[in-house]
Amino acid sequence: MTAPTDLLLATEQAPDALAPVAASGVFVLIAVMILVPLVSSALLVLGDGPRFDLADKRGHLLGTAASLASFVIGVVLFVTLLGRDAGDRSIEQNLFAWIHVGGFQVDMTFLYDPLSALFVLLITGVGTLIHVYSIGYMEHDPRRRRFFGFLNLFIAAMLTLVLAGDYLVLFLGWEGVGLASYLLIGFWQHKQSAAVAAKKAFVVNRVGDVGLALAIMLMFAQLGTTSFVGVAEGIEQVSSGTATALGLLLLLGACGKSAQVPLQSWLLDAMEGPTPVSALIHAATMVTAGVYLVVRSNFIYEGTEAARTAVVVVGLVTLIAGAWIGCAKDDIKKALAGSTMSQIGYMMLAAGLGPAGYAYAIFHLITHGFFKANMFLGAGSVMHGMDDEVDMRRYGGLARLMPLTFGTFAMGYLAIIGFPGFSGFFSKDRIIEAAFAENVFVGIAAALGAGVTAFYMTRLMIMTFLSSRRWKENAHPHESPAVMTAPLVVLAVASVLGGFLVLGGWISDWLTPVTGYETHELAVPAWVFSVGITVLVAIGVAVAWATYGRRDVPSTAPEKVSFVTRAGRRDLYGDAVNEAVLMRPGDQATRGLAVFDRIGVDGAVRAVTGGIGATSSLLRRAQTGFVRSYSLTIFGGALIVLVAVLAVNLA
């Protein structure tokens, strides 16, 4: 921990003081952190065939060890970073010139600073726990080795993303996690639904990726560089219009990766993947990459009020939409996925608030990473015990049969609804406070969201663990093996204690060198908000109890429900909108183009080739084989040449 005087100094430091020092000493391990899981991944994925029996039997251990190795390095680097002054906690490792064309140079640069340090710990820490969990969860899967190979690939790509010192290197990681996500969602590709979901995730992400790609191109066009340092320095010189465009394009990228409205539709379908994947990629880490991107690009958003407002709006809309969907879903993973959307909406909202919110966006991101991974793994544990049943209406009364799962899940539950003292309480409160300081209406909406969160999470708890047993026949619920419950316990502890990062303002001080920090004066003391939000949460819990706890839960979903529920069940008609606005016109356009191609283009091409062929046959006929006609041709040619030369002169 740094001394208080240092903290004071750090608070006053300008946010754009990105002056990284070259990596030395233990920091040369930055690249190793990425390399280890990458090599392991290559071994596990490519080491296929009968000669790799050992890989099939022990591959999962290699994968877990690789992730653990990265985590250990991450901890060592983090501790070393803690020991440094706030001013030089930004370390740059330049491996080689990746692209060097004319005046354009992109280095394979990694930037290790307070922001990426936190991410590294989250990714490798939660990642390692999920690796351990997967050993049990995927035990009977014949392709477990491959699964671990993909998980390692994801870890390597995600680390590349958060450690990149250049937008293009970030893009490399960005696409890498997209690929890993695609491979893992569709891991059970024999299921039609999984294959389709993977494709959908890939296609929707492509839209966002185009945004990010265009942003990078725009940086290159306007600033001639794509490195964080270079862009941060140059951004002050560009017009505000360019800054706004950059901000909006980056937001588009963030929307795709983080499943924010309007590119949210893929996340719910992505739950087709194995549950550890949902926990790691689609809850704790990858989907938060959008938030990371916005926070990392704070120097761009600094200059553009419009883009920041857009971020706030996107965050707010997603927050509400996700909560809405979470209320209506009966599939436990989809309910959690809706919740993930909603919580990332909170983070986006915070990130849109500027320096007042960046630190809390990251804070919530980390606590969310803990409790959501915890709950997803808990859900996986429940499914594991219930023969892969996902319908909560077929659960009930599992608390006694799965005490460890229930206990750890409860910690996550209390954390997410913001029960005082649990991590979510601290992180969500700060965001709502900051939102109130920005705009009263935004604050009210965010606070209401907290109430709805309490409602749907209580509903989930009641339907799964409490209430009457509505199991299918042949169901024999049982607790999961220790290899699965141990990570649950660790994550449960983290869910409880994660909130202490904020004590003494540590998290905001820690991130100040990267993001800057400022507080707004609130009209009323902070405790008033805490009490108010807690009351809202209590109301949410009470409503849920009244609806689901006191009455029997039907084992099939009721048909006659309000429009609100119906809309929630259908993901707020996101797919319908996509189909109507994009897919069908796209299909029509494709069909039209195909017809045009067949008749217009092919017709023209055929006509031309036909014409050439006919001319060719004609020319062939001139080749009679008689010297006399050849001579005549030459004579005629000589005349033409003569006339051509003389005519020019006469004219």
Binding site: Q623, V627, S631, T633, G637, V641
Partner: protein
């Protein structure tokens, strides 16, 4: 020198003996000497040894001449003038030894070297060369059979080729019109003869020789008449004198213009430009394939070299008069060559039309008449030199492959019989496909860089519409090149598929060299492009 005072009244007037710079002319002289030696060998060496001696003599002579060429090239001095030029005029003004000359000498010598390897191929015909054993014997006669039985061979093909090589080297270096005419004939006559010497399909071969001779003589007449008219206008044969006269002209225009036109007919016949191209398909098809390869590569270099020198040096001052005519001929050549090739069913004829189309592309570079600017951009001369290099090697390689795709009756040149060659011999078909791609100008092959060079020179010279036509013609041309690839790789053979005979090291070496050059000049064209660039302009 004799002191004037010592000359008595009755003594004849003093005549300065001409000074010949033997060193500068050594490559030419070496080749000429080897050709004469070859004639001696025919007269004195025992029959059994002749083939070996002639082959060794020809190849050795060419290697020595190449070494001499390099030596001459390294010793070239920079000529005075505002554009970069190296070298000087030697042999009393008859020959210009300058950068382009030396480059083309080296080029035709290299082409001749690989062609001689094709000439020396004896494995494909069961130990006999691809040339007829007894040219005087009527096809199908008892005499012919006897010659085959006694394994008689015409080893004169080597000295004949060397004589042709002398002409090829002298033609682009000739600095006066008479030397140029002599060189043209020295180049042509042995080739006429060589064309008629095929071992197989002798009637077709003799017919092609006859046609080539008659039409060649016809076009030479135009050339000679053109020389006469230009002499009438300029009062001299030297290209420098003509340049002076053209630049300072005030009257007698029509004499000059008619002369230019008629001389153009002569050289355009040699390069195979439309409408003087009619001989090309028939001769290419009928001639022994090794001769076709030699002729297609070597004659093109020589004729384009002479064309460049004639029109850039002698008629450079009248470029506004002849450029429109070149526009017309270039467009006609590209379009007719490319379009007519589309429906060809014989590989050799297809390659002949392809050579016509390529002549058109080179004419585009010539028509640009771009002499370059300060910032070393590609000039017309250097781009044409580069194009000739890449075209020549690919052409020789393609014809070398034609010699090894065979059936019982010899070479199978029917395109339809090439179906399935990709499966029969992937390497050979792959090499041929590479040459086709190079002809089509696909990137990463030498053909692409060649096309880029001539087009960019023409563009810099202001002939951009010509470049547009050229690109369109390239598209048409690409279609028939790709068709060959489709036939070889993606068409089921009808009946018994083609077979690839195993040639001797000589032909294999030719194909390998051609493949390597084609790829190398496509990937790293820099050194050769720089060499062509540093050859500079013509001296005058």
């Amino acid at each position: 020198m004799i002191h004037p005072l010592l000359v008595s009244a009755s003594a004849p007037p003093p005549i300065d003996s001409p000074t010949i710079q033997y060193g500068d002319l050594s490559p030419l002289l070496v080749v000429a000497a080897v050709a004469l030696l070859g004639v001696m060998v025919e007269a004195f060496a025992p029959r059994a040894l002749r083939f070996t001696i002639q082959t060794a003599l020809a190849i050795g002579g060419i290697v020595v001449a190449l070494a001499a060429t390099v030596w001459v090239g390294l010793g070239l001095d920079r000529a005075s003038g505002d554009v970069l030029a190296r070298g000087r005029v030697v042999a009393e003004g008859a020959v210009a030894v300058d950068g382009p000359s030396v480059f083309m000498w080296g080029l035709v010598l290299l082409f001749a070297l690989v062609s001689m390897l094709l000439f020396a191929e004896r494995r494909l015909e069961g130990g006999l060369s691809a040339f007829t054993g007894q040219a005087a014997a009527p096809p199908g006669s008892a005499m012919e059979r006897e010659a085959v039985e006694h394994r008689i061979e015409h080893t004169e093909v080597f000295p004949l080729a060397m004589f042709a090589l002398v002409g090829m080297m002298l033609f682009p270096a000739a600095n006066d019109l008479l030397t140029m005419f002599v060189a043209l004939e020295v180049l042509s006559l042995p080739l006429y003869l060589l064309c008629g010497l095929a071992r197989r399909r002798r009637l077709l071969s003799q017919e092609s020789a006859m046609k080539y001779f008659l039409l060649g003589a016809f076009s030479s007449a135009f050339f000679a008449y053109g020389i006469a008219l230009v002499y009438g206008f300029a009062g001299g044969f030297g290209l420098g004198d003509i340049d002076q006269a053209v630049s300072n002209r005030i009257d007698g225009q029509n004499l000059l213009l008619a002369g230019i036109a008629l001389m153009a007919v002569g050289v355009m016949f040699k390069v195979g430009a439309v409408p003087f191209h009619a001989w090309t398909p028939d001769v290419y098809q009928g001639a022994p394939t090794a001769v076709t390869a030699f002729m297609a590569a070597g004659t093109k270099v020589a004729a384009f070299g002479a064309m460049l020198r004639l029109f850039f040096v002698a008629f450079g001052g009248a470029s506004w008069d002849w450029r429109p005519m070149f526009w017309v001929v270039a467009i006609l050549t590209m379009v007719v060559g490319a379009v007519a090739a589309v429906t060809q069913s014989d590989v050799k004829r297809m390659l002949a039309y392809s050579s016509i189309a390529h002549a058109g592309f080179i004419l585009v570079g010539v028509t640009g008449a771009f002499v370059g600017t300060r910032d070393a951009s590609v000039t017309s001369v250097s781009s044409v030199l580069f194009y000739l290099t890449v075209y020549g090697f690919s052409t020789i390689g393609a014809f070398a492959i034609v010699t090894i795709v065979r059936d019982a009756s010899g070479e199978t040149t029917q395109l339809s019989r090439w179906a399935g060659l990709g499966r029969e011999s992937p390497l050979v078909a792959g090499a041929f496909a590479l040459f086709m791609l190079a002809f089509a100008g696909i990137p990463l092959t030498s053909g692409f860089i060649g096309k880029w060079a001539v087009f960019s020179a023409a563009w810099s010279g202001g002939a951009w519409p010509l470049v547009v036509v050229a690109v369109l013609a390239s598209v048409v041309a690409a279609s028939f090149y790709v068709r060959v690839i489709v036939t070889m790789f993606f068409t089921e053979p009808t009946g018994e598929g083609p077979s690839v005979a195993v040639p001797s090291m000589a032909t294999t070496a030719v194909i390998v060299v051609a493949v390597v050059v084609t790829v190398l000049l496509g990937v790293v064209p820099g050194p050769v492009l720089d060499l062509a660039q540093s050859a500079g302009a013509f001296v005058r």
